[in-house]
């Protein structure tokens, strides 16, 4: 059985239809990439799963239970952590405090939380020297690490990652994706939204491509990478055909 399943999900922002009948599934232990150009509905899909946006139609099942329309505070308690686009680090709180708040979805003793936070600093050694610095002083790459660490503090079964490569230099992107691979090795399932198709497909088990709110194609990474439709979704039809 899939860990996460979307069936014919519709979603809208006011008058704008953002998702039209999106169906996809993620099996336990997978990394699944959700690709597509800007505005295709990738972030909206994640927002519908984590409860930031109430779906207008369709079903979202997590571990067999319907979760569509639940409040985000409830969804994260079920074990779905959403690391949103733009990292959203709390600027006025220190790095350590940002990390500790990641555990707000579960009941943990102080000692337990301190231990889990140390584990995060071990996973992201770059953050150690900024432990007491406020969030806004971090560079983009460090903020992404912090956002990941904060998301992992929830001990999620499923991690939703939105554009972790956004605005990061290529070397940092590689570093982030190495960590995402490590995260999966610890048993966490990952649904990854990326505009950077190359890097996303390099670590994914499967991928879906969205185009203006609909699922266009799905398949294995190599298949998708060589698929003309996928390239067209990013760079336009004529170039893909000519290339």
């Amino acid at each position: 059985m899939s860990l996460l399943e979307l069936r014919e999900v519709d979603a809208a922002y006011g008058a704008v239809q953002a998702l039209r009948g999106v169906s996809l599934s993620v099996a336990r232990g997978e990394i699944v990439a959700l690709l597509g150009a800007n505005g295709a509905g990738k972030s909206t899909t994640l927002r519908a799963i984590s409860g930031l946006l109430r779906p207008a139609g369709g079903t979202i099942l997590f571990d067999g239970q319907p979760i569509g329309g639940l409040h985000p505070e409830r969804v994260v308690r079920l074990g779905i952590a959403h690391v949103p686009e733009g990292r959203r680090v709390f600027p006025g709180l220190s790095v350590r405090e940002n990390i500790l708040l990641g555990a707000s979805n579960r009941r943990a003793s102080r000692a337990e939380m301190a231990q889990d936070a140390s584990a995060m600093f071990a996973l992201f050694p770059d953050l150690v020297r900024f432990a007491d610095a406020p969030g806004w002083t971090l560079s983009g790459g460090q903020q992404q690490m912090l956002a990941l660490a904060r998301g992992l503090m929830a001990k999620p079964t499923l991690l939703l990652l939105d554009e972790p490569s956004l605005g990061l230099a290529p070397l940092i992107v590689q570093q982030v994706f190495r960590i995402i691979r490590q995260i999966r090795e610890t048993g966490t399932t990952v649904l990854l939204v990326e505009q950077n198709a190359r890097v996303a497909l390099s670590i994914a088990d499967r991928g879906y491509v969205l185009e203006t709110g609909r699922l266009a194609v799905s398949g294995a990474p190599a298949e998708l990478w060589n698929n003309e439709e996928v390239r067209a979704a990013y760079l336009g039809g004529r170039v893909a055909k000519a290339g």
């Binding site: 006011g14 008058a15 704008v16 239809q17 953002a18 150009a37 800007n38 505005g39 686009e85 733009g86 806004w136 554009e163 490569s165 956004l166 605005g167 230099a169 290529p170 992107v173 505009q195 950077n196 198709a197 190359r198 890097v199 996303a200 497909l201 390099s202 203006t212 990474p221 190599a222 990478w225 390239r231 067209a232 990013y234 760079l235 336009g236 039809g237 004529r238 170039v239 000519a242 290339g243």
Partner: protein
């Protein structure tokens, strides 16, 4: 009340009601109070209803007008009307000073500053005994010669009220009134279509103070005795409640609200001591359940008519000329340590469609915000048609021939489609503005939706109205921020055709877009940004195969095989 004959008839009715109707003294007093208050409340219609700024000092301006009349006539020996003019102008002057110092800051500042002003005025009226006679107040205020009898004076008050209500109602459809509503609905969008928002807010606040003063001046003559406690913060609150209850966005609403709240305490005598508390409760309930007030609620039930001229063909008056229309060199915008735009060069040739593309977060929208004056650049130069314009205010850039649309559409949501476009056309002036607006709306194919309220239009139409609004400003250069976002396939095709037709008009386009099919279809040249820097520039064919561009979009080099 568009019809002058109707207006005259109404005015005559006011006079007759005052002079002939058999009213007892008590009712006359009540009507005088209602009429003079209503004039001040009409001021709130302008500042709060039309312009969306909270003023909590209307009783202070009312008091300034009243003391102007009282002291001008009893102390300085001025005639009633000269004293009335003095009080009214004094109130307006304070309005300009207060507004000028505050209206550049956020909305709550005005609320606090007006409360403070209200308190200071009360202190001055009470304590500056030498000038104001202190807590004893001023008695024996004369009425104008010939209007001493109560019914006649009431006729005067009603006449002034009628004229004021008529003028305030008419203002709503005049260019100034439209600009005020544009500021209320979306200040940012108002500035980029050429409205000098600061100036409009000051004018609104000053007019409001002026009407407060006028009402107060007439009030002094009506009761012939005034004292500081009649112009306290509580009274400002009463005036505010009157405006909100009746419906603050229309002159009629203000008059209804005032009449109700002057008469209600008489009808609700059993509430006597609680009646102000009930006002407070009413304010909360109105906000929660009927934010548009009684009149707003009723007016919302009937459709709006618009007087749109027959649309002619759209002609853009600024011929593109030759060479670079826009020349950007080393443009930078830093937010703290973040270099959102980091030394971008951009050259847009006259008459071309130029696309600005790049991954999310690469600095495209920030670039557009700097170009249209919403952000002040950290460095670099921007030349529009040869003139340096970096750091100029948005409304000046609009006047210089720059139009723009927004990624998340910013319309004046409570105005009609036609009014939205009309605000964009104001530079043309008068009847020409209306003709230009009609032509622009027709150009995007929405002439038949002219009377629809912008917020009620489907998304695709809202995009088109926004483009028409920008076109109505007669731009030489039109900046479009993701015009295809959120459009379905048919709408996208229509947009592509529209952009081709725009090129035919001679307008130069700078376009941010993620839909590469559309970019390929319409763009003559493309500039690609990444990390706030330009990474490529050229024709679509060159740029979209440029390895760095492919890498920026897809990640690393294309054609890499997967294991």
């Amino acid at each position: 009340m568009k019809n002058p004959a109707l207006a005259l008839l109404g005015a005559a009715a006011c006079v007759v009601l005052g002079l002939v109707a058999p009213l007892d003294d008590y009712l006359i007093k009540l009507l005088m109070q209602a009429a003079t208050y209503a004039i001040a409340v009409l001021g709130l219609t302008i500042v709060l209803g039309y312009t969306g700024q909270i003023s909590l000092a209307q009783a202070a301006f009312f008091g300034i007008g009243a003391y102007g009349v009282a002291l001008g006539s009893t102390g300085l020996g001025l005639s009633f009307f000269a004293a009335l003019a003095l009080g009214t102008l004094l109130a307006g002057l304070f309005g300009v000073l207060l507004g000028g110092s505050t209206l550049k800051l956020g909305g709550h500042y005005l609320a606090m500053v007006t409360i403070s002003f209200q308190e200071i005025l009360t202190l001055v009226l009470t304590n500056w005994v030498g000038l104001t006679h202190g807590p004893d107040g001023v008695a024996n205020i004369p009425r104008p010669t010939g209007l001493v009898a109560a019914p006649r004076y009431l006729a005067l008050c009603l006449l002034v009220l009628f004229a004021t209500a008529w003028a305030v109602g008419a203002l709503k459809r005049r260019p100034l009134g439209l600009a005020m509503q544009a500021v209320r609905d979306n200040e940012l969008a108002a500035s980029v279509v050429g409205v000098n928002t600061y100036r409009v807010k000051i004018i609104a606040f000053a007019l409001s103070a002026l009407l407060g003063g006028l009402g107060g001046g007439l009030f002094a003559g009506a009761f012939r005795y005034i004292s500081p406690d009649q112009f306290s913060f509580d009274d400002s609150v009463v005036l505010l409640t009157m405006a909100l209850l009746g419906g603050v966005e229309a002159a009629t609403g203000s008059v209804i609200g005032t009449a109700l709240l002057v008469l209600l305490p008489e009808w609700l005598r059993f509430l006597r001591q609680f009646y102000l508390a009930v006002y407070g409760l009413a304010v909360i309930l109105i906000m929660v359940f009927m934010p548009a007030g009684i009149w707003g609620f009723l007016a919302g039930l009937r459709p709006r008519r618009v007087a749109m001229p027959q649309p002619g063909g759209l002609v853009l008056g600024r011929a593109a000329g030759e060479g670079a229309l826009l020349e950007v060199v080393g443009l930078a915008k830093h937010f703290g340590g973040l270099r959102a735009v980091d030394g971008v060069d951009l050259r847009v040739l006259a008459g071309e469609v130029h696309a600005l593309i790049g991954p999310n977060g690469s600095g495209k929208t920030t670039t557009l915000n700097v170009l249209s004056g919403l952000y002040r650049p950290t460095g670099g130069s921007v030349r529009l048609a040869g003139r340096e314009v970096a750091g100029h205010a948005p409304h000046l850039l609009a006047a210089a021939g720059l139009g723009r649309t927004f990624q998340n559409i910013r319309l004046f949501h409570s105005l009609t489609a036609f009014e939205n476009v009309l605000i964009g056309a104001q530079a043309a002036g008068g009847a020409q503005a209306a003709e230009r607006a009609a032509a622009a709306l027709d150009f995007v194919g929405l002439a038949d939706r002219a009377g629809a309220i912008a917020a009620s239009l489907p998304y695709g139409h809202q995009r088109m109205v926004e483009i028409a609004r920008a076109l109505a400003g007669n731009p030489a250069l039109l900046l479009l921020d993701e015009p295809a976002a959120g459009l379905n396939l048919t709408e996208k095709q229509a947009l592509g055709q529209l952009l081709d037709r725009l090129r035919g008009l001679g307008v130069t386009l700078l376009l941010i877009e993620h839909d590469m099919d559309l970019v390929e279809q319409v763009a003559d040249r493309i500039t690609v940004l990444n990390f706030g820097k330009r990474i490529a520039d050229g024709t679509p064919a060159e740029v979209l195969r440029h390895p760095e561009v492919v890498a920026a979009y897809l990640g690393e080099e294309a054609g890499h095989e997967f294991a």
